[in-house]
């Protein structure tokens, strides 16, 4: 387990962040620019020595302000993937990849060179110089270089932020592969919610130098009291499995704890885990079972909570079995339908609004 509790000040900015991350899976640190998330990562990597606090990885204390303990970054065995890749421009891709491998601790376990090269699909780039790579290729090499240094923890600092949408799509699948293949704990700093949805198991939500909340992505997506709920792309994140493909209809049925959703057909095979975000703005609510509508997904539930959102809107939380959905409606709707917590409602979700 990674335990972080750091305090640091730059001029007027104060960082006071504490959270922990489990030994497995991806923990995303999410927040707006300037909230201190990259600083937290630098404290874990050892590239910044905070004024006070403690950082521990498993049994080893990496930093303890009170005890004056500070492990230098070169001894921390934390692989870092920077936003700007930071490949050594004077070395070939292969030499870059081997840079950390050659300096890795003797006896430290980790993937072999050939395995990493194959997994990241960078075999054809080995002889090239970093200057001749595309942005996406550069990030894949940077990821490989960090993996090959035999780290205990992988730190990723907005690795996709400098890439356009197409290039992002070139790198994201490889991040998923790395996550699934190596079981290495990953700390992933980002300000893009779609990356959180695709990659992260847990979410540490930051704003203005503080941790607002830390929990699973699914649990935090349902909290209407966090800044997340104010975003236009707010919505419940559901962990689903592919139940079956209805190829004749061009649909896939996803099952989740609480029911089933029909979505536009996805490529994953039956049984595969997929996660979807049901955006609150795409969910409509009815107080009687609707008839004759195009919407395929009509889920029976109970209105659990209502929270004002902005000047004219409200966020509704609808309990559906063991899960819940969020729905964004106007204040006018609350009055018109006489909505109140405890009331049975039907949540309507258009299939085309869902993408896994």
């Amino acid at each position: 387990m990674l335990e972080v509790d750091v305090r640091h000040a730059f001029g007027a900015f104060r960082l006071e962040a504490a959270f922990s991350a489990p030994d497995r899976g991806v923990t995303a640190i999410f927040g707006p620019s300037g909230c201190g998330k990259t600083t937290v990562l630098a404290c874990v990597a050892g590239l910044l020595r905070p004024e006070a606090g403690r950082v521990a990885l498993g049994p080893e204390t990496l930093f303890d302000g009170a005890a004056g303990r500070f492990v230098r970054p070169e001894r921390r065995r934390c692989g870092v993937v920077f936003q700007d890749a930071r490949l050594f421009p004077h070395l070939s891709v292969e030499t870059n990849l081997r840079y950390g491998l050659r300096r890795a601790q003797l006896g430290a376990a980790g993937p072999a060179f050939a395995e990493v090269v194959e997994l990241l699909g960078i075999g054809h780039l080995l002889a090239r110089r970093p200057g001749r790579l595309s942005g996406g290729e550069r990030q894949r090499v940077a990821l490989g270089r960090a993996l090959l240094s035999r780290p205990r923890l992988l730190l990723l600092d907005e690795p996709l932020a400098a890439l356009d949408a197409d290039r992002k799509g070139e790198v994201l699948p490889f991040l998923l592969r790395v996550r699934d293949r190596f079981g290495l704990p990953m700390l992933y700093v980002t300000h893009a919610l779609d990356e959180v949805d695709r990659l992260a198991d847990r979410l540490v939500l930051m704003a203005a130098g503080r941790v607002l909340a830390a929990d699973t992505v699914e649990a935090l997506s349902l909290r209407t009291d966090l800044p997340l709920a104010g975003r236009r792309d707010a919505g419940a994140v559901l962990a689903c499995r592919v139940a079956r493909h209805e190829s004749g209809r061009g649909l896939t049925a996803l099952s989740f704890a609480g029911g089933e959703l029909l979505v536009s057909e996805v490529p994953e095979p039956p049984g595969a885990a997929v996660r979807i975000r049901v955006r609150a703005g795409d969910v409509a609510v009815a107080t009687a079972p609707p008839h004759g509508i195009s919407t395929l997904n009509v889920l029976t539930g109970t209105l659990e909570a209502m929270e004002p959102s902005g000047a004219h809107e409200a966020m509704l939380r609808v309990r559906v079995g063991e899960s819940a959905l969020l729905a964004r409606v106007t204040r006018d709707t609350l009055d018109r339908l006489g909505l109140a917590p405890g009331r049975p409602v039907w949540a309507l979700v258009k299939s085309v609004s869902l993408s896994a």
Binding site: L47, E74, F88, P89, H90, Y99
Partner: protein
């Protein structure tokens, strides 16, 4: 335009003196540039001033200071002669020392400029990959500042070929020992019928200087390309 043996001597000596000055001066220049670019200590402006002093002081004064320091009874020259049997005044080694001191600011400036251009993020990345301070310097920083070292070295070499004031003050004007190109030219102008010698050596001087400056520029650009920028 054939050179006499004495004239060849002056050319050869100039090349040897400038070469030694750059070879011995450059490692120190890299160290000084590192301190000036990366160091955070109170004496940095003082070091900066001292490094640049030879650029602004009259060369004769620099040569005189060297005489005071490295003379056989000087605070550095005395022990050097006593413990190592090394005498610098009036020797080729002394001419190289005077040339190195004069060319030092040129080397430091070139190296410092390239050091300032090295992204400290690359060194940070090397740290996270397990590289200690010396390891980082030799595998990341040094290769990245190599263009600056090479082009700075060539410029310093070109300037060193023509160092006059400090050399003549500290090392005197001894044929075959310390009479480098500019000293030979100066001597020729002071001699009856020396015009031909002076003109020939001036042409050599001019050609070397222009050629070396072009080489420095070419090296700089080639190396940048080699670094993939």
């Amino acid at each position: 335009m054939a050179l006499t043996p004495e004239e060849w001597d002056a050319v050869r000596l100039s090349l040897a003196v400038a070469m030694r000055a750059v070879l011995f001066g450059m490692p120190l220049a890299v160290g000084a540039a590192w301190l000036l670019s990366r160091g955070r200590f109170w004496g940095r402006p003082v070091l900066d001033a001292v490094v640049h002093l030879p650029l602004v002081l009259p060369a004769v004064v620099t040569g005189w200071l060297l005489l005071v320091l490295f003379g056989i009874r000087g605070p550095l020259g005395g022990p050097l002669l006593h413990w190592f049997g090394v005498r610098l005044v009036f020797t080729t080694a002394g001419a190289a020392l005077a040339t190195a001191v004069m060319a030092f600011p040129l080397m430091v400036r070139a190296v410092r400029l390239s050091l300032d251009a090295v992204d400290p993020g690359l060194e940070a990345a090397a740290r996270t990959l397990g590289a200690g301070p010396l390891d980082r310097f030799f595998t990341v920083t040094l290769p990245l500042i190599l263009p600056g070292i090479l082009s700075g070295g060539v410029v310093a070499f070109a300037a060193g070929l023509g160092e006059f004031g400090a050399v003549i003050t500290f090392a005197s004007n001894i044929p075959g020992e310390t009479r480098t190109l500019p000293l030979a030219i100066y001597t020729a102008t002071q001699t009856v019928d020396g015009e031909a010698t002076a003109a020939k050596l001036a042409v050599v001087s001019f050609t070397l200087a222009v050629g070396l400056l072009l080489l420095a520029d070419l090296l700089g650009r080639r190396m940048q390309g080699w670094l993939g920028r």
